[in-house]
Symmetry: C2
Subunit: 326 residues, 2 copies
């Protein structure tokens, strides 16, 4: 295989073409000129083969998911994405075709989301493939969304559908054998290629519509607990109101006890946000305009902790509270 300088020149430098400040990845660091008075927003996520993705996952989608997971963090702040830096620790025996497909996936998504590669580091590892991506964007500083600013009485909304990430991973691991193939394909795609809700985040921030927001990465229950805890409040959701895809609904109809697990599962990358009840109409209008379901699932209250009620109003017990590495 080529050395790392040749790998960078062949596969990664083309990803930097739209970023003049990246100087073809040939300098020590990249320059970026912020626009006007916007604040810079920075985030970073790492993915390890066998922990965050399956070793056999298509290389095209691994890079795209890593980029999207980071863009989802920018979406949760209401930021416009501008660029990213990538560190790749490749096993020495990695196939060059793998790297080519990985880079092709990144090329596709960076065009889609309007970002470019600003820098990187390509190293070898005796361990599993490990990828770290830093994304940056811009947000109006005083309008950036935060998870710590919900108010008692605010309504809790979530975009899209919840639980598909968890079920997608399960389907890819050979689970859910009775599920129709179209459902399995849908769920796998949701796990592999989450959709960062950038336009939604931007609109929520620009209009000052969301009092708090984050993206659902640890799981709906854990992430709502984050909003509640950081805001010094309690939260309550109605499990039956949580939006499910047709595929997830099929799973829950066959096994109703699985619903609690879906509320605890991560990898959804939908936006979870709180809104003053007086502005519920604006949320409905925004949902129509973006053609994206924005579903009211509960509310914030004085106190602490998270309560989940089933359709009969009984409190549900949740399994765990999101993925933990240690």
């Amino acid at each position: 295989m080529r050395g790392e300088f040749e790998l960078i020149a062949k596969y990664f430098a083309p990803l930097a073409e739209a970023a003049p400040g990246a100087q073809g990845l040939r300098n020590d660091a990249a320059l970026f000129d912020p626009t006007g008075d916007d604040s810079l927003v920075l985030t970073l996520d790492a993915m390890v083969s066998g922990v965050h993705f399956l070793p056999g996952d298509p290389p095209e989608t691994i890079g795209r998911k890593l980029l999207r997971v980071n863009l989802s963090d920018l979406a949760a702040m209401g930021a416009r994405p501008r660029g990213y830096l990538l560190a790749a620790a490749f096993p020495k025996d990695i196939d060059e075709a793998w790297i080519a497909a990985f880079a092709a996936g990144l090329a596709e998504d960076q065009a889609r989301f309007g970002v470019a590669l600003y820098g990187g580091d390509t190293v070898s590892t005796p361990g599993p493939l490990t990828l770290t991506l830093t994304a940056f964007g811009e947000a109006l500083g005083d309008r950036a969304l935060s998870r710590a600013t919900a108010r008692a009485g605010d309504l809790v909304y979530v975009s899209g559908t919840i639980g598909d990430g968890l079920l997608g991973l399960e389907a890819l691991r050979g689970g859910l054998p009775d599920l129709a193939e179209t459902h399995r394909t849908y769920l796998a795609a949701r796990y592999r290629l989450p959709e960062p809700r950038l336009e939604l985040g931007r609109r929520l921030a620009e209009a000052g519509l969301a009092s708090a927001a984050l993206d659902v990465s640890d799981g709906l229950a854990a992430d709502l607990s984050h909003i509640a805890g950081e805001s010094g409040l309690a939260s309550e959701i109605e499990a039956g109101a949580v939006p499910l895809s047709p595929a997830a609904r099929t799973v829950v109809e066959a096994a109703p006890e699985r619903l609690a697990g879906l509320l605890g599962g991560g990898d959804d990358y939908e936006l979870l946000f709180t809104v003053s009840p007086s502005r519920a109409g604006e949320v409905a209008a925004l949902a129509r305009e973006l053609d994206l379901p924005l579903t009211k699932i509960g509310q914030m209250a004085v106190g602490q902790g998270l309560r989940v009620r089933d359709s009969a109003g009984r409190e549900m017990a949740l399994e765990g509270t999101g993925w933990r590495h240690f």
Copy 2:
């Protein structure tokens, strides 16, 4: 051991205290407000245990070296460092005391260099400890240093001394048994804790003194070849002029054939820069002011390639041209 949320709260959140935009590492992304019209400068480097550092290295110095290596990239652009983001992939069996010492080292260096932690990701890995750090700073856009802008006739300078990183690694691996203990200790410290030449880089940029610059990470020969190649020029250095520390000089005096290897070895993190001959006096004055040796080792010329001459004027053959991962 604690879960990652507790690890972050206990060991990493304190590193973010000086960065209000990091919001205690509890948000999805961090905010940073650039100063005035400065350009943002971004860089990223990854380190893998067993590849970039020795598994038995003191945890205090591993984090500090990673930070310094990135700060060295900012120095090479003439940027003022402002903050960093850190991804840590820890083996599941890592000792909490290791993490505590690692964070303590970062705390020491971030105070020293005036930066703060803006964000991070803590994950588990079945492989070796893998660390990725993104550093960012600010530079006046049109004065940022570049490796691609040397001119024919420019003099080539290097800061500090060359070859200590390579010899330090060798000493730590049990090599150089005949060398005095003070020399071995000095070399090990240079390998473990390189000194980012931030003040030098800033001054070279502000005064427009360097026509091109980079930091010596791949090795003096390889890095001068980068300046020459990117600038479309040839370069020539006199091996006898390359500044050596007393420890390195002792090694070369005992084994003169080792000099070529030191010019090819990496991990020096000194600044290599080119200057118009008419401004040599300013370089000498800056060296005195900073109390840092800035040594003229050669010059740039029309053509291509790197030539190294020994003290008799004969062309020397170099072994390899810097570290390669693949």
